[in-house]
């Protein structure tokens, strides 16, 4: 997993609440056998509308999604996180996230930032008035900054540490590499092996 320290990028204002994972990535995309290539499925239904915010030229390359409350509800599919990441989002801001979505996002290195709804509204206005405005999500200082706006946010210490270090579950386990190797060294010889005989 890539480490997340601080990220600066343009924002996409998504003025919708209760965006469930079926809207983020529809079920028929779940047949895919990879973790990438989901970018075209992201918000697939809405993107058929040329006026949808993601389709507007001034939003191309934006990497911070600013969404309404209760983002990521519904099915637990991890594909929703992969779709957002595949599309290029590094962070999602909302006043409230569904628990499983939040867990999945932090596991994959997508930073989910909880800010008060007033701050979310302020960010929406800012980026709607000037799409070129850059938003900085600073995990070290635990702050979101944009022109004339600074807002602190909370994140539990363990999740923050893992993001800062870029440690996924596997990365954490691999810190015990020496223990695993020493366990392997003392395994009895009679244990089964799949090696072809």
């Amino acid at each position: 997993m890539e480490a997340f320290t601080t990220h600066t990028g343009r924002a996409v204002p998504l003025r919708r609440s209760n965006v469930d994972t079926d809207q983020i990535i529809p079920a028929h995309w779940l047949k895919k056998v990879t973790r990438d290539g989901f970018e075209d499925g992201l918000f697939e239904a809405w993107r058929k509308d040329p006026e949808f915010v993601l389709n507007r030229p001034e939003r191309a390359g934006a990497s911070v999604l600013v969404a309404g409350p209760d983002f990521g509800t519904g099915s637990s599919r991890e594909h929703a996180v992969w779709a957002l990441q595949n599309y290029g989002f590094k962070a999602v801001v909302s006043s409230r996230f569904a628990d499983i979505f939040r867990g999945n996002s932090l596991k994959n290195g997508l930073l989910t930032v909880v800010l008060p709804q007033e701050t979310v509204e302020a960010l929406w206005e800012l980026t709607e008035n000037d799409p070129s405005v850059e938003v900085t999500v600073d995990l070290v200082a635990r702050e979101v900054r944009a022109e004339g706006l600074t807002a602190g946010f909370d994140l539990d210490e363990n999740a923050r540490w893992r993001l800062l270090e870029g440690l996924d579950d596997i990365g954490l386990t691999l810190r015990h590499e020496a223990d695993i190797a020493s366990y392997e060294a003392r395994r009895p010889a009679f244990k089964p092996s799949t090696a072809l005989i």
Binding site: V33, R35, K107, I170, T173, H176, D179, I180, T194, A195
Partner: protein, 477 residues
Amino acid sequence: MGRTLAEKVWDDHVVTRAEGEPDLLFIDLHLLHEVTSPQAFDGLRKAGRTVRRTDLTIATEDHNTPTLDIDKPIADPVSRTQLETLRRNCAEFGVRLHPLGDVEQGVVHVVGPQLGLTQPGTTVVCGDSHTSTHGAFGALAFGIGTSQVEHVLATQTLPLSPFRTMAITVEGELPEGVTAKDLILAIIARIGTGGGQGYVIEYRGSAIENLSMEARMTVCNMSIEAGARAGMIAPDETTFAYLKDRPHAPAGDDWDAAVAYWRTLRTDDDAVFDREVVIDATELSPFVTWGTNPGQGAPLSSAVPDPASYEDASERLAAEKALEYMGLTAGQALRDIRVDTVFVGSCTNGRIEDLRAAASVLEGRDVADGVRMLVVPGSVRVALQAVEEGLDKVFTAAGAEWRHAGCSMCLGMNPDQLAPGERSASTSNRNFEGRQGKGGRTHLVSPQVAAATAVLGHLASPADLSGATAARTPLEV
């Protein structure tokens, strides 16, 4: 204080233990198949990681494989993609694979034991809930999710929090005609589909000790249907005899060392289980399900229950919904339920003893008019053994279809499915709505009941087949 079998196996696999953290457990055997592995390999690739222990990893194709025309390209593009992806991934990461057409191919939970890879005191995982099957050898074996599959591929370990332990003691002799399948269906009906939640179940008692290895696998296989994380049976002489001389069983001095260790894998007399259930084997009879979860079962000799008889409101509602889906009425004798399809196979009952049992009932008899019977061996090895014994001829002579090995109609991911409204007697493990095909209705049964049902066209046990139904002279095989 003494320890249970599950605790002993657990303790022997702890790589690291720290206060307030899950234990890091070493995994002895990792089984893979095409459905739950693609994103795990993809994750490895993206992170630039490798498979840590290819010598403890093995893959087979089973869920999507066709059971007819296996030499032709697979028609369904999704199935084809999953199989091709597994082949590519195994080649790229150096994982041993038994693809469709290979002599060791078959359902993952049939292949592991028959190769002698599943051994007492090992930890076995697979991205599949019926991994509990391997517990029949005294292994701690459980299903895992795709991100855990990736974790095991990369590290050969898993961080896990301890399970609770449950003992299910079955004493006495199983009556004539009562099988391991009847026993486990009766256990699930007794403790409920959530009864084992959070537990590793250890099956013990004289009735369990008297079971063959294959019958023990049938019991452990369905532990997951009781909600348990895993099921286990202490290894004994039956286990050792089954393993001896299998391709991957220890040999020479290693065999002696292994058996000496395996003999220590018994629950200590002073060990305490978190929960205990006692079952009297002598009271059991052939058991079938009438509903849409494996806990909704009853003795074949009884009737469809009246939902109103349930005190628990949610159980009552579940029974009402099940009867509606199954197209049954309360009070109807289970023996009066007519089926149009019979499926013998799956990781529950697709091994050689199961095929022998079904064939012995079918021998010299015919599948009833209007009934389609599919016999799908659990692996190619099982199929070859059955052919050697002439069982395939018994099946085809009776009018059943003898198919190629795989999961097949157990979950209908391949073309073997029930049509809407069709009703099956199936030796598999799940009777969920639509499990065997959209709108399909499933009754879970033993191989013997499946065969008798095929002959009579309604749910039946071999005891219902008086000599009169033996219409033909038994086939010479």
